[in-house]
């Protein structure tokens, strides 16, 4: 298409830019685009299936002759298997297959490491059979925290390898040490964050069925259907034709890219027994093997000049993804800080391997960074919001901060932290978030219009609860002049066109623009037919209000020969854009009981952009969910490993605390729509950014309420009381 002028920005800050649009792409929806259904409150297209209980998730697939498989997991953090005997289990009632993963002599490095799997006629029989597997362990010393793993003489998680993999980090910028040395004020603090498990409500699991023609059908609770197809092929044997279904997925949050041991067990046991096999994680094994957010220790040091400007910042982080890597913390980002230096180290402990978890590295990184910004503001004697404005010129941030401050009533905050009386103290704090994804090429969407007037949109990727199906229906409906419920969306099937794994908040902004292209392609084909009938030019046929030109949509569809027509759309490269990523901020109003140590969030305001808002309801839901997970991370969740044997002590939902209904504050969400012209819809990633700043905003509010600086997550009553005990009240 070539160079196109388009309006970008938000509110009153709109300006015209020129973007280079690839051939075959329409002009992007600019800030002044007249849109009918995009941006409105579209009801989630699969909501009724879910609310009625009719939606079939992987866990709900029941096939004729299906066996139930369960995995036996090691109960200790470190051990060597002395003996593994499955012979008794094989003879148990109903048992049809046994699959050892380990043998005598093999090491165990975390609680949850897989030992064997069994397949039986019923779930109860499979449980019995697990108990009949005889395993003897020779227990070894464990390390369960960053601190103990780094201590001199600590047991090595991988014998012969240091527990600490030191010192990665970006290029230092300028002379941070020098800047701090010559600073007017030096601020220094260390922050700790806990391990959080994904705790997807539907655990990991797979149903595997070999068909008569040798092909394999897999239902998998996954956030990457096409990735699973490849992995399942590797397990089933090269050349096996695999089809993966994931029509409904009970959450993933980053943990469900892999086939997981349950998937491998289901496929191998299906092959072994010649029967379909379902293998799901229990809640316990979901906690221990399903992935987690690494713990962290983050040391920060800054030098401020006499105006309160940060001149140098040194950040040293340690993160532990258990026996896995990837413990890095995403900081310092967002703010400008003069000279800077950062190192990050991975620390091994005897815990289950980390997995990508909704904005990997960011919630922990921003908890430290935005807490530290508050500490620096306090040291400089400046209002925290004014202090942040000194360290960012970003116009989106500034607009969002002003809006959030107004909505929470920033002026109500304590001018002096901790000032007040009584045992209940109120305070207000804030923090910010940034995310860099606006989607990528590689996806295709097909739109099928049938002669009976029905419309379908097809993409093989999955909707894990984020609302991707609704986004596709909305975009296609916009192009065809229909209402979103008139577009039936099929997703979660690898026989449909290629789509991305749901990671990095890329699904909607990757598939959405392809859906627009597919909608336009289908529209043009139908317009040709309608034009012939109406005796007008195809380009003059307008699709609006359920009409094609002067024809009713259904009448126009009757012109289709051969039953249906197919429009197809590819996701092309992103354009030079107004803004590469997305921004957001959250303000928290909390009440702290300084006698019980309980922190009660009263209200949270979340302002978030993700480029153009396509479906407002699902957009707000995503942000609401991010805030609630953030509250849960800030105040409750903590994977606790026994320090002597490495066993997780709270691998359930009773003792692993997830924020519940009674913990909810009022939450106000602002869908901050921005025309960014980064792709034909101006879409950007949303899933991850809204969970990033919540913990820091709450911690800053707690400081404002009490004058207590809590530098360790979760901020449980014991930590509040320990801090309160050191203060003169």
């Amino acid at each position: 298409m070539g160079k196109v002028k388009t309006k970008v920005g938000f509110g009153e800050k709109v300006r015209e830019i020129e973007v280079d649009v690839p051939d075959g792409e329409p002009a992007p929806w600019g800030a002044d685009a007249k849109l009918t259904v995009v941006g409105t409150d579209v009801v989630r297209v699969d909501a009724a299936m879910k609310a009625s209980g009719r939606a079939k998730y992987t866990y709900d697939i029941n096939l004729r002759d299906m066996l139930c498989a369960l995995v036996l997991h090691a109960p200790y953090g470190a051990a060597q298997i002395k003996k593994l005997d499955t012979s008794k289990a094989e003879k148990m009632p109903g048992v049809k297959g046994v699959l050892p993963f380990k043998k005598a002599g093999d090491p165990i490095r975390y609680h949850g490491d897989e030992v064997a799997a069994v397949a039986a006629e019923t779930e109860d029989q499979a449980e019995d059979a697990l108990h009949a597997i005889e395993v003897e362990y020779d227990r070894k010393p464990v390390v369960t925290t960053i601190a103990t793993a780094m201590a001199a003489g600590a047991p090595q998680v991988f014998p012969g390898r240091e527990n600490v993999r030191p010192g990665r980090g970006g290029q230092p910028r300028g002379d941070a040490e020098g800047a701090i040395k010559s600073a007017d004020k030096v601020v220094e603090a260390a922050y700790e964050t806990q391990v959080q498990t994904h705790s997807s409500f539907e655990p990991h699991g797979t149903v595997a069925k070999f068909n008569e023609d040798g092909s394999l059908t897999v239902w998998c609770s996954t956030q990457a259907t096409f990735g699973i197809r490849q992995q399942a092929q590797q397990v089933a044997g090269r050349g096996t034709k695999v089809r993966v279904f994931a029509e409904f997925v009970g959450g993933g949050f980053g943990s469900k890219f892999g086939l997981h041991v349950t998937g491998a067990a289901a496929i191998r046991l299906a092959k072994q027994t010649g029967r379909p096999v379902k293998c799901m994680c229990t809640r316990e094994s979901e906690h221990t093997t399903g992935g987690n957010r690494p713990s962290s220790l983050q040391k920060m040091k800054a030098g401020l000049d006499k105006d309160g400007q940060i001149q140098g910042l040194i950040v040293e982080t340690f993160g532990s993804g258990g026996i896995g890597g990837g413990g890095g913390c995403a900081n310092p980002i967002i703010y400008s800080y003069g000279a800077g230096k950062k190192t990050e180290s991975d620390v091994f402990v005897n815990g289950g391997p980390a997995a990508a978890f909704r904005a990997p590295g960011h919630p922990q990184g921003i908890f430290a960074l935005d807490s530290f910004m508050d500490e620096c503001a306090h040291a400089a004697g400046l209002d925290p919001l004014e202090f942040r404005k000194k360290h960012s010129r970003d116009e989106v941030y500034r607009a969002q901060w002003d809006l959030g401050a107004k909505m929470i009533g920033w002026e109500r905050r304590n001018k002096e932290a901790g000032k007040g009386s009584g045992h209940l103290r109120r305070g207000i704090g804030m923090a910010s978030t940034r995310w860099g994804q606006i989607g990528a090429p590689g996806s295709r969407v097909d739109v099928i219009i049938r002669d009976d007037g029905t419309v379908e949109a097809h993409n093989g990727a999955q909707d894990i609860g984020t609302g991707t199906k609704t986004v596709l229906a909305t975009i296609v409906a916009e192009e065809l002049g229909l209402k979103p419920p008139q577009v039936a969306v099929k997703m979660g099937d690898t026989d449909l066109p290629m789509g991305p794994g749901s990671g990095g908040s890329v699904t909607a902004p990757s598939v959405g623009p392809a859906a627009r292209n597919a909608g336009i392609d289908a529209k043009e084909k139908l317009a040709e037919l309608a034009a012939k009938k109406l005796g007008v030019e195809a380009k003059d046929v307008v699709f609006a209000d359920g009409k094609v030109g002067t024809l009713k949509f259904e009448e126009a569809c009757k012109l289709i020969e051969g039953g249906s027509l197919r429009g197809t759309g590819e996701r092309r490269n992103n354009y030079a854009t107004y803004r590469g990523g997305v921004a957001g901020c959250q303000f928290a109003d909390v009440e702290v009981d300084i006698e019980t140590g309980r922190i009660r969030p009263v209200k949270v305001v979340a302002v978030q952009d993700a480029g153009r808002v396509i479906s407002k309801l699902t957009f707000e839901s995503q942000v609401l969910g991010g805030v609630i997970q953030g509250i849960s991370y800030a105040l409750y969740e903590d994977r606790i490993l026994d320090r002597n044997v490495g066993t997780q002590m709270n691998a359930d939902f009773l003792n692993y605390k997830i924020a519940g209904p009674a913990d909810m504050p009022e939450i106000e969400v602002v869908a901050f729509s921005i025309a960014n012209a980064g792709n034909n819809c101006g879409m950007a990633g949303l899933g991850e950014p809204p969970t990033i700043p919540t913990a820091a905003a709450i911690a800053n509010a707690v400081f404002n309420a009490t004058g207590l600086r809590l530098r360790s997550l979760p901020m449980t009553p014991d930590k509040v009381l320990a801090a309160a005990g050191k203060k003169e009240w």
Partner: protein, 200 residues
């Protein structure tokens, strides 16, 4: 969690081997029970027994080991998969069903204990393809994301609406406190309950 009461003197999951059959349950279990012991309470299992469960208004016959929970009987034997097995320990409410109008964690009740009672799952709130008002409100408010906790929440909300005419926000929060949502939809669930309460 006061709401998740287990009624009757019947089996608990751990005690089924020794517990006596509850009067209500025993009568309907049918002829294949283990022989009665002269000196003690009647013992069932471990072999399968034939039972009839009234699920969503229909009598369903099945053969299960006495230890099988109501949840597994529904999901694995009757293919009623609205109730979800998310924690299997009564800690999340994903398997909430109504048993004789009382909200129950189906994973914490033996199927035998539900014999002779009316079991309602989210599927049973529907009239044909028409959803109940609370289900419609869930859709209108987008009170769901991945949807895996939704059937359990729908039942808990229905129970609240059954027992309270116009529940306050605090009452709704309290009544729903046996349920967890991982995606984070709570506030919209509260709105869904309030909308239904206001409209009727």
């Amino acid at each position: 969690m006061p709401k998740k009461q287990k009624r009757g003197k019947g089996f608990s999951r751990r005690e089924f081997l020794t517990a006596g059959a509850a009067a209500a349950g025993g009568a309907a279990i049918g002829g294949r029970t283990a022989e009665a012991r002269p000196a003690g309470p009647k013992t069932l299992g471990p072999k399968k027994v034939a039972v009839t469960l009234n699920v969503n208004g229909k009598d369903r016959e099945l053969e299960i080991e006495p230890r099988v929970t109501l949840l597994r009987a529904l999901r694995n034997h009757l293919d009623v998969t609205g109730p979800k097995q998310a924690c299997d320990r009564g800690a999340c409410g994903g398997c909430s069903v109504l048993v004789d109008g009382l909200l129950v964690n189906a994973c914490m009740m033996l199927a035998l204990d539900a014999v002779g009672r009316k079991i309602v799952t989210p599927e049973g709130l529907m009239e044909g393809d028409k959803m109940a008002p609370i289900q419609e409100a869930f859709c209108a408010h987008d009170a769901l994301q991945c949807g895996f906790c939704t059937p359990g929440f729908v039942m808990a909300c229905q129970w609240t609406l059954n027992r309270r005419k116009s529940p306050t926000l605090a009452e709704i929060k309290k009544d729903l406190s046996g349920n967890i949502c991982r995606c984070g939809t709570y506030n919209r669930i509260f709105q869904a309950v309030q909308t239904v309460a206001k409209k009727r």
